[in-house]
């Protein structure tokens, strides 16, 4: 039985990337009831708790913006980040240690194609959770601009970039103890210091540029811009920064994965 024609660009067979994406979609469909809690219920808890709870205590931020309106895009991006990092670190780690990726590689598939398949799936997860939590935010009237559809673009960028970071942890971790560092070292600080819950401007001057350099901050910035329908040049720079980071991190991740899978 011979394979059918497919696109091969720069040595990457598009079909393999698609196949892994499809595998993830089939797996998600099997458990969609449980998955709903990760994609919708859990992040919606955060949105409601912070939006209504803290929103009561804080009047306005950044000159006239209601706190719930300010915080909604940040919480959506935080959920996008969690999904991407979880998929590419824990998901990939278990698929490596369980021997599944070794058997996938016995098909005409390369490590680079696996990494790209996981990355596109991480981006898909980020977009899915953005749609579900975003709908809740829209229902509460916290996101109103028609430009808000652009938040999906921010989710896509966050999914790829954070996913690439997750792959590095999956490739390097000898066990789940070291793997759990991905939450301590990456997810938790990004969750709190990326301008989601408070404007970065309130941080001490020394920390401000540091917060801007964090990989999630530009994503939150772009999402906030789209959510309020106020787009500036800084949003473009943010997008380019994220694309640039992805372009640097991904080849490193692929190299490390190759070292782990093809020896």
């Amino acid at each position: 039985m011979r394979t059918q024609g497919t696109w091969i660009v720069a040595g990457v067979r598009w079909r393999s990337v698609q196949a892994l994406w499809l595998r993830h979609a089939v797996a998600l469909k099997r458990i969609w009831k449980v998955a709903t809690t990760w994609y919708l219920v859990e992040p919606a808890f955060a949105l409601v708790a912070v939006g209504f709870g803290i929103g009561r205590l804080v009047d306005e931020v950044e000159g006239g913006v209601r706190y719930s309106v300010f915080v909604a895009p940040g919480i959506i991006m935080a959920s996008a980040m969690i999904h991407a990092i979880f998929e590419c670190s824990w998901g990939v780690f278990y698929r490596i240690t369980g021997g599944f990726y070794e058997t996938v590689l016995t098909a005409p598939v390369t490590v680079t194609e696996l990494a790209l398949g996981d990355l596109t799936w991480a981006a898909t997860r980020a977009v899915l959770t953005t749609i579900s939590v975003g709908s809740v935010a829209i229902a509460f009237g916290w996101v109103t601009s028609p430009w808000a559809v652009g938040i999906l673009l921010a989710a896509l960028l966050v999914g790829m970039e954070i996913g690439a970071i997750g792959l590095i942890f999956a490739a390097l971790s000898p066990n789940t103890h070291t793997l759990s560092l991905v939450f301590t070292v990456v997810a938790t600080p990004l969750y709190f210091f990326s301008g989601s819950f408070f404007p970065i401007a309130v941080l001490p001057d020394v920390l401000e540029p540091l917060a801007w350099a964090l990989p999630l901050t530009p994503g939150v910035h772009i999402a906030q811009g789209f959510a309020r329908g106020e787009l500036r040049l800084t949003h473009l720079w943010s997008a380019l920064y994220m694309i640039g980071l992805t372009a640097v991190i991904l080849p490193i991740a692929i190299r490390l994965l190759k070292r782990r899978l093809v020896t």
Binding site: A19, A27, F100, E102, T103, V262
Partner: protein, 301 residues
Amino acid sequence: MIRGRDIVKRFGPTTAVDGVTFDVMKGETYGLLGPNGAGKTTLMRLLSALSPLSSGGLVVAGLDVTRQGRAVRERLGVVTQQDGLDTDLTVRQNLETHGYFSGLSRRESRRRAAEVLAFFGLSDRAHDDIDHLSGGMKRRLAIARAFMMAPDVIILDEPTTGLDPQGRNLVWDKLAALKASGVTILMSTHYMEEAAALCDRIAIMHQGRILDEGTPDELIERHASVEVAQLRMVTDVKAEVQAALVAAGYAWREVGTMIHVAARDGQRPQVPPLEGVRVTYRPGNLEDVFLAVAGKGLGEE
């Protein structure tokens, strides 16, 4: 179908495969027999283009493994030692996704999966979770997956290791059926009976080298004594027995509580009459071959 020349694979300072040369003909079942750590798995990973050679040449189905890895993998079915099944998916979905990874369309994948499930007697488990399968069934599914693309060559790394006797028989049945269908099979094993039952030719591997190669009968004739004496000690006279055997110039090894004795000329060993020892005789087998060739038993590291 497979041609290996002076294959060497090093991991840092250790040499896992140390100059292996062998040929596997079309339709043949070729066995790599050896203990853990002999280099069998490494050699099979090299064959599947999952691992680059340090030096040497390896051609599978007319394709160079080093330069045409993807094309080689299109023609190979590989069963790794870990089943490597996708526990998030059902039995049927495992096969379908593998077909899709290998380049079949979704419709072709579905059709082929149904065929393969029927052939491997798994049709009534098609919608089961992987975790609900027995060890033998998981292994059969792993072999079924390798068969999705109707490959010319199937590579199996220790297909029955870790299975109970019933599971082993199920796997042997299917391997015999595959063999009958004309597929070229390369398998590794550390079970003598498995190699003797399934393989047309066997290579004995030890410390990264092939020590000898031939049909099971040839190897037994060449290396195993025609008759082996089995000594069972009724009382604690092991030391005396061993001393007597050394004096008589016989080769021997301990197997559990017994001592197996072989004469160098292959004739029935004339074990000196000893108090407290029962002697029985049996024909030589592949286990004796391994002992003769590698200088130690299969179970020993």
